[in-house]
Symmetry: C3
């Protein structure tokens, strides 16, 4: 983790382009804004080249795409690769819906994601590991999370961020865990979508995407934990609002002090 990336992000204010999930798009835009970046969303392929060009990072959320939107998604991913913009992909429900898994496989033949963020059900599906996903939720499985993230990272030659009670982040060789968490993330729809776009904001200010992914995960988890600590009980509505507040307020010092991140020893 490079906690100074948070200060850099706020100083640079990178533009983050999103092809977004219509369910959570407003929350995601506000999250990008709150952390200190500048969101831009688009649904029109004719402006894709201009949009990617002006952006520091591109985030493709595959949470609710239509067949018709796939052309736009494909082109935007390809442009991100060609223009060397970090490309983050959030493969929502890819573990629960075969159509989505096939679509993502097809997309990954067209462009290369620099970072993929998903829950255990989604990452296990990408890694072809047995897992019982439940709709957009992680579901249940017994496979070793460390093995899953490594396998997925190796298969796609990318950085994997697998979020859950513990987050696992891997570049295919190393695996880092983040243990900050609150169950309230699960109770608020779109927490994961927001993190994916915030990863984009961090990747927009460094060329080390593994560090960007780790730092984003820790900053996000620490902010959520801070909010949860202030609540008298589980308040999912209040949590969502105060999370935006805290993303704006959280300091590098707090993240450094409270972040529970460690690098696992590998054989």
């Amino acid at each position: 983790m490079q906690v100074e990336l948070l200060a850099k992000l706020r100083s640079v204010n990178p533009v983050v382009m999103n092809i977004s999930n219509f369910v959570t798009v407003q929350d995601v835009a506000n999250g990008i804004n709150a952390i200190g970046a500048s969101p831009i969303m688009s649904e029109e392929i004719k402006e894709a080249a201009e949009m990617v060009q002006m952006s520091a990072a591109v985030v493709l959320n595959l949470g609710a795409f239509t067949d018709e939107a796939l052309g736009h998604i494909r082109q935007t991913g390809l442009l991100a690769n060609q223009l060397h913009k970090p490309l983050i992909v959030d493969p929502v429900a890819v573990g629960a819906v075969a159509y989505r898994k096939q679509t993502v496989a097809d997309l990954f033949n067209v462009f290369h994601p620099d970072i993929i963020r998903g829950n255990a059900g989604e990452i296990a599906a990408l890694a072809d590991v047995a897992w019982q996903s439940k709709g957009v939720d992680a579901g249940e499985g017994h496979a070793d999370p460390v093995a899953i993230v490594k396998k997925a990272a190796q298969k796609y030659q990318t950085i994997i961020v697998m979020t859950g009670e513990t987050d696992y982040i891997s570049d295919g060789k190393q695996v880092v865990t983040v243990e900050n968490n609150t169950p309230l993330f699960q109770l608020h729809v779109g927490s994961g979508d927001m993190l994916s776009s915030i990863i984009g904001a961090f990747a927009g200010v460094t060329s080390d995407y593994f560090e960007a992914a780790q730092t984003a995960a820790v900053v996000f988890a620490v902010a959520g934990e801070q909010v949860a600590d202030q609540l008298p009980t589980e308040l999912p509505g209040t949590f969502a609002i105060k999370l935006l507040d805290q993303l704006h307020l959280v300091t590098p010092e707090t993240v450094a002090a409270k972040g529970r991140i460690k690098q696992l020893e590998m054989d």
Copy 2:
């Protein structure tokens, strides 16, 4: 009302599929989550069969559809019928816009809704009772609400939930009223949409849709009333957030104690 359905819902955590209104979709997803179910949204017909199959209930919100989306709506409704999943329809603004009324009539020739939820203007329009709707709001009319819900329920052979200052719920024979309410529901766009999807969550854990509809209406109204009681004045923004909190916190005991539900005597 079967208040124990609330505990069952939270234990089962049913997946509720929604073809949603883009205006209120995030709020609806969060409401489904807060009550204890799991939302999934889709706009793509190619995944409709998988989506319906994995869901315990299907909710079609007709709040902002395009002509192009109608194929998806039609297919999803039909699949819900064929796979015996409870199908809830929210016919937004059907009283104000002739195009929407015609479209809903066409849809109801294709599939059969198990439950319809709307405001007085919408249900009156479905029942062919004179009423002056106003945009997405209920508007004004002088017809007897009991007669309207019974007529609509009989015409469509379905359960009707007509929400307003008092909610009227009918299966075409019996009529039940729920008198819990707060004017803040009106001040927050999408309260009705959220209730429609929460009715889906309840219908996903029982085969008695009339009981599901009643229980959902009481739980929702009691939660809203509890929030309103805590506010110093009419605060529509704060209400929306605390409603999500309260949907998560409200207990069967509170609903049993505070619910003002009664079955009307019929001739």
Copy 3:
């Protein structure tokens, strides 16, 4: 400014039709509701004539349109002109994306906007004044804001509302400034979209659009300032919620007392 328009708006409860930006649509709908009007959104051209007919004002937000949606936007704008409904246009990111600038130019050949609201980057682009926009944000420039709004208003024969630290409002002859503001408007995505639709609500209750624009700008800025004054620090999530509360609570008396509006002397 005619502060009594606020009371009139609340008494009339005008229906405001919006072709909206999917990123911020829920927030905008809630803002329209909170101020005392009634929002209706649509994406389907077949209902455009009915929708425009039933509405007191029409707002076209060009924040995330697709090529396919342009037919609907074009037709709705034209209908608003033909039916003499005030037409408000929000040209999002027109300064940052050449495709959007060209599209808006094409649209303005089809219909005439009665009021345009944008940030400095957007209005400068419309006025063909040099400016460095940044995505959806205003960006930076050195041109005289008074000259920009006058030039844009004259070029399009319309009312311009250019929002920022100071708002500048012009009919091409006179220029009025509103100095109420809070940096929190910038931290919440969609503040500008919400103001555009609230301008529509005011324009729906008077034929003097210049007064409508001024009054909406002052009411909105005073409400935001009131919320910011109550916050202990910059809380972007909390601000967005309390802004909805305050739009509902703010009184004509408060606006009259706190509004810092002045008419500039022109040569």
